[in-house]
């Protein structure tokens, strides 16, 4: 048996398309998430450029109202569900097992299934442009507009597409929870976990508890549209506000799902580049948890203009103010981390510092929304657009860019170019502020969002033009990033195992890591365990490099190949590749397509039947297949 596995384990690192399609390796799945998310980032970015081009001047004629509506809706759906969530999933997939000293996630095949379901669902959402038009009810899909036009399948695509993406995300989250709670390396207690892992715990809980709520809303929308139910039918005393509640009970935690992993990444990078520990680890962790909890109690601040009544509005306004406290704690602790350090201003550090700076702006404008009367002026105006882009671009995207520069060496074994990286950072930062800072003013000056044209003479022309120029500059930044990736992938500097003098376990293994991650499962004694294997402190509390004696040195030298690694790798049973997850996910998406066209007669039922058969094949095959073939 040992011999069979010995051949099996390295052979799993095969090349070729088939090996990627059938892979259950968390690292490869992480890379596929990243690549898919980046492709959708380019598509969503292209849509943003179309939007900005249309709005560059008063009464723009680049897009019709009909096209504009589809494009801004798809821009929102794409960026939230097909870019930021999956890029977070990419980092989590790749690095959570490495950071907790595990060999894989708890359920490698569910992991593959979650990825393929996300990928095919997002592609499926884009097929809407070919078959009946893309969703055009805004990413919030407010009823009864979303149930008004049953002649078009556009909002059926929305309902089913979001449902499927939700299921994919749910599967991923359950996987992370099981992995983090049961598969940590010996000695890694909860309060020794890296902050990024902690933030993964929080976002996973947010997702498993919020996705089912919007799931109910999406079913109700689908039923109202296709089966004659009356959930949102005002003429039958159905309540359109029900949808808003269900949507935002999901939608607000979702905002934290998008930003918390980025906060986790920044909390990893700052200590490494400052060469001192995270300031107030426990405070940062608990404020992350507090943000998660409070995130469930503030949803109605998205509904301050909907007529909930002053008592409810006051309550939700105060709850929203409360969230500013743990958020502020995080920012102060990050600055505290840099204070007194020896800051290495590398590209990941620049992006992290940019994240803090921009997130402060997004956070402060967020506080102004909790001032209910003021929010009635800001709501659904460009001020809101500016606010959430400061959080989601200035915050989340810069955070994930920081992560990309920080962890690219671990993925590929090559460093990204620092010179190009700095160009990338400054172009992005300037372009971003040029795009979104003027939108605050536009909103306060009365420009509502989701409008495809505006008249001259309202004082909006100059700011809009500035914003459009900024968006092109961001696009230039993205091109620079692509160039950096291509260039560095080909002939970047070799990274070695530990290019940043890191603190966490992923840096103890080779770059890229072997299939089984660690030849020997590490035993953990501290937060930032790897650092303490390398450094002690002198009498004045300064870090002092230790001679390489302890267990750390052993794992650092691990050979990446695995074949000739001495001894321990032989008995590691890694799960075997499987093509059933991709088949099952294709089946599920086909069922979704059937639901979209359920009212179109035969085609809908044919797709449903086909989807059911394919899913059955996928899931039954999956159930009957042992995890590690040779092991049984």
């Amino acid at each position: 048996m040992a011999v069979a596995t010995r051949e099996q384990a390295p052979a799993a690192a095969d090349r070729g398309l088939w090996s990627w399609i059938t892979t259950v390796d968390h690292k490869r799945i992480g890379i596929m998430y990243a690549v898919a998310a980046f492709i959708f980032f380019l598509i969503g970015g292209f849509e943003a450029l179309l939007i900005r081009t249309q709005l560059a001047q008063p009464n723009g004629t680049v897009l019709s109202a009909e096209a504009y509506n589809q494009i801004f809706t798809m821009h929102g759906l794409t960026m939230v569900f097909a870019v930021i969530m999956p890029i977070a999933a990419a980092f989590q997939n790749y690095f959570v097992p490495l950071q907790i000293g595990a060999r894989d996630v708890a359920f490698p095949r569910i992991n593959a299934f979650a990825f393929w379901l996300f990928f095919f669902s997002a592609l499926f959402l884009y097929t809407s442009f070919l078959f009946g038009g893309a969703p055009d009810g805004a990413w919030v899909g407010y009823a009864p507009l979303s149930t008004q036009l049953t002649e078009y399948v556009r909002m059926d695509y929305y309902s089913v597409g979001a449902q499927l993406l939700g299921v994919a995300s749910l599967a991923g989250s359950i996987n992370f929870i099981a992995t983090i709670f049961t598969m940590r390396a010996p000695g890694m207690s909860l309060m020794r976990m890296p902050v990024f892992v902690w933030m993964t715990v929080v976002t996973s809980f947010l997702l498993i508890l919020s996705l089912p709520v919007i799931g109910v809303g999406l079913w109700q929308m689908l039923f109202d549209r296709n089966f004659g139910t009356l959930f949102y039918a005002a003429q039958a005393q159905g309540d359109p506000l029900l949808w808003q509640h269900l949507f935002w009970i999901f939608g607000h935690p979702e905002v934290y799902v998008l930003i918390l992993p980025a906060m986790g990444i920044v909390s990893e990078i700052l200590p490494v580049m400052s060469r001192k520990p995270l300031f107030g680890y426990a405070f940062v962790v608990f404020s992350g948890i507090a943000i998660g909890f409070l995130g469930f109690g503030v949803w109605a601040h998205h509904m301050f203009t909907a007529g909930l009544g002053p008592v409810a509005e006051a309550g939700f306004g105060l709850a929203t103010m409360l969230i500013a406290i743990p958020t502020g704690v995080k920012i102060f602790n990050w600055i505290g981390t840099t204070w007194g350090g020896r800051l290495k201003l590398t590209t990941p550090m620049l992006f992290s510092l940019g994240f803090i700076s921009m997130f402060v702006i997004g956070g402060l404008s967020g506080v102004t929304h909790s001032i209910v009367p003021a929010d009635t002026q800001q709501h659904d105006s460009y001020y809101i657009v500016a606010h959430f882009h400061y959080v989601l671009f200035g915050g989340a995207v810069l955070g994930y860019m920081a992560g990309a520069y920080y962890w690219f060496p671990k993925w590929t074994g090559k460093m990204l170019s620092e010179t190009i990286g700095k160009w990338h950072f400054w172009i992005t930062l300037i372009g971003f502020n040029l795009t979104f800072a003027p939108q605050h003013i536009l909103g306060l000056d009365g420009m509502p969002r989701r409008t495809y044209r505006y008249d001259a003479g309202l004082g909006w022309d100059g700011w809009n033009m500035m914003s459009t120029i900024g968006s092109y500059l961001i696009a230039v930044g993205v091109l620079v990033f692509i160039w950096n990736i291509i260039r560095s992938w080909r002939n970047g500097e070799p990274a070695g195992n530990d290019p940043w003098d890191g603190r966490t376990l992923e840096w103890t293994t080779s770059s890229p890591p072997p299939v089984h991650n660690f030849d020997e499962v590490p035993v953990v004694h501290h937060v930032d365990d790897f650092w303490y294997r390398k450094y002690g402190v002198d009498e004045e509390g300064r870090a002092v490099k230790m001679p390489e004696v302890s267990g750390g040195a052993l794992t650092v030298d691990t050979d990446s190949g695995g074949e000739d690694a001495d001894g321990d790798a032989h008995d590691i049973h890694m799960p075997s590749p499987s093509y059933f997850p991709i088949i099952a996910s294709l089946g599920v998406v086909t069922i979704g397509a059937g639901l979209v066209f359920i009212s179109s007669g035969a085609i809908g039922f044919a797709l449903l039947a086909l989807g059911a058969i394919v899913s059955l094949w996928g899931f039954m095959g999956w159930a009957g297949e042992p995890i590690t073939k040779e092991a049984h």
């Binding site: 008004q148 309540d239 007529g307 006051a314 001032i371 306060l444 000056d445 989701r450 495809y452």
Partner: protein, 357 residues
């Protein structure tokens, strides 16, 4: 530090007070909007202070603690400072508590029902226009004042809008006069507006702020803040029925109106024999005093004969709508269809409508 803050704040306020920002929320022209603006300036000032404090702390830390070339010393390994962390948890909490007091006070003031001498206006949102009915201003025939897209309210007196929607959710937003409020089908929401005396004579633009599909960007509203006397004059004029013409091209226009337009539009008319009757169905805007409005098409077109002729000829060419999806049985109206009228009919109709002042 304080000076920077006040300069920035002042600059922003000045920039927005200029008269070329007619739709700005920073340019309040009602008692209610002033209250909101006061609250906004308070919060904005505090936020500006915090903004500079945090950004400066960050920049100072970067500049002071950046690693200099050739310096290989290691920093002191501090893990945190509980006292400091508690302090920077409590300080924001205190600041927020300070902001919360005026926030809640203003909120409850603004949301309290209007009292005293209040003008009530019922607002109904439609895809994609506004219907205004003044239930307390009633003509001798018992018909209340009904108009569309241009709201007239008196300066110095509180108007309470009672709002609902006929189809999807809309939001009434005239930033200089009030915060926005959604119009939700099946629900009634309220806005109070007490325009400043100094705003008398102004026409203040606003528009729908809740995405309502094709015509959302073109669902605009104009609020005429009238001096009290002017308002009375306007209201009296609006209560007058429109005359049914007896001579000229308008006679043919009225025939077309009765046969075609009345399918969806209403007008309160006085026949040549003196009888007053309401003709048509109230699906689209009331046209009794069409010519008294400055604009039409929900504020997107100046009310001129040329514009009106073009509109009647092909409405969807001027404003994206979807009349092909109209379904009156389900109460769904998505715009005015092109009835294929010939140029003569259009000219006669324009003649008629432009005479209904």
């Amino acid at each position: 530090m304080r000076r920077i803050v006040s300069i920035v704040a002042l600059g922003l306020v000045l920039a927005s007070c200029s008269s070329n920002l007619p739709q700005s929320s920073l340019n309040p022209k009602s008692v209610e909007a002033q209250k909101i603006d006061g609250l906004w300036i308070l919060v904005f000032s505090i936020a500006t202070v915090i903004f500079f404090a945090v950004q400066i702390a960050l920049i100072v830390s970067i500049v002071r603690w950046r690693r200099r070339p050739g310096d290989d010393s290691e920093p002191k390994q501090t893990h945190g400072n509980t006292r400091l962390e508690i302090v920077w948890t409590i300080i924001p909490a205190v600041i927020l508590a300070v902001i919360a007091v005026p926030t809640l006070r203003t909120l409850f003031e603004l949301r309290a029902p209007a009292t005293g001498d209040v003008l009530r206006v019922k607002v109904t949102g439609h895809q994609w226009w506004w219907e205004f009915e003044y239930p307390d201003i009633v003509g001798p025939d018992g018909r209340p004042l009904i108009t569309a897209n241009e709201l007239h309210i008196p300066a110095g007196r509180t108007t309470e809008l009672e709002m609902t929607s006929a189809d999807v959710i809309h939001s009434f937003w005239v930033p200089p006069l009030a915060g926005k409020r959604d119009l939700v089908p099946g629900l009634t929401t309220y806005i109070k507006i007490t325009p400043l005396e100094s705003a008398a004579g102004e026409v203040i633009p606003g528009q729908c702020a809740e995405y309502c599909w094709l015509g959302h960007a073109d669902m605009r509203v104009k609020v005429h803040v009238d001096a009290p006397d002017d308002f009375e004059t306007w209201a009296a004029g609006q209560l007058e029925p429109a005359p049914v013409p007896t001579t000229g091209a308008a006679v043919g226009g009225f025939e077309t109106f009765s046969g075609v337009c009345a399918t969806c539009h209403q007008a309160n008319v006085r026949q040549p024999d003196g009888t007053v009757e309401t003709i048509g169905t109230a699906i689209g805007p009331d046209l009794t005093h069409f010519a008294s409005r400055d604009t039409f098409g929900a504020g997107i077109l100046e009310n001129t004969a040329e514009h009106l002729a073009a509109w009647i000829d092909d409405p969807s060419a001027l404003k994206p709508m979807a009349p092909e999806l109209n379904d009156l049985d389900r109460g769904r109206v998505l715009g005015m269809p092109d009835y294929g009228l010939d140029p003569d009919q259009i000219a006669e109709l324009v003649e008629l409508l432009e005479s209904w002042k």
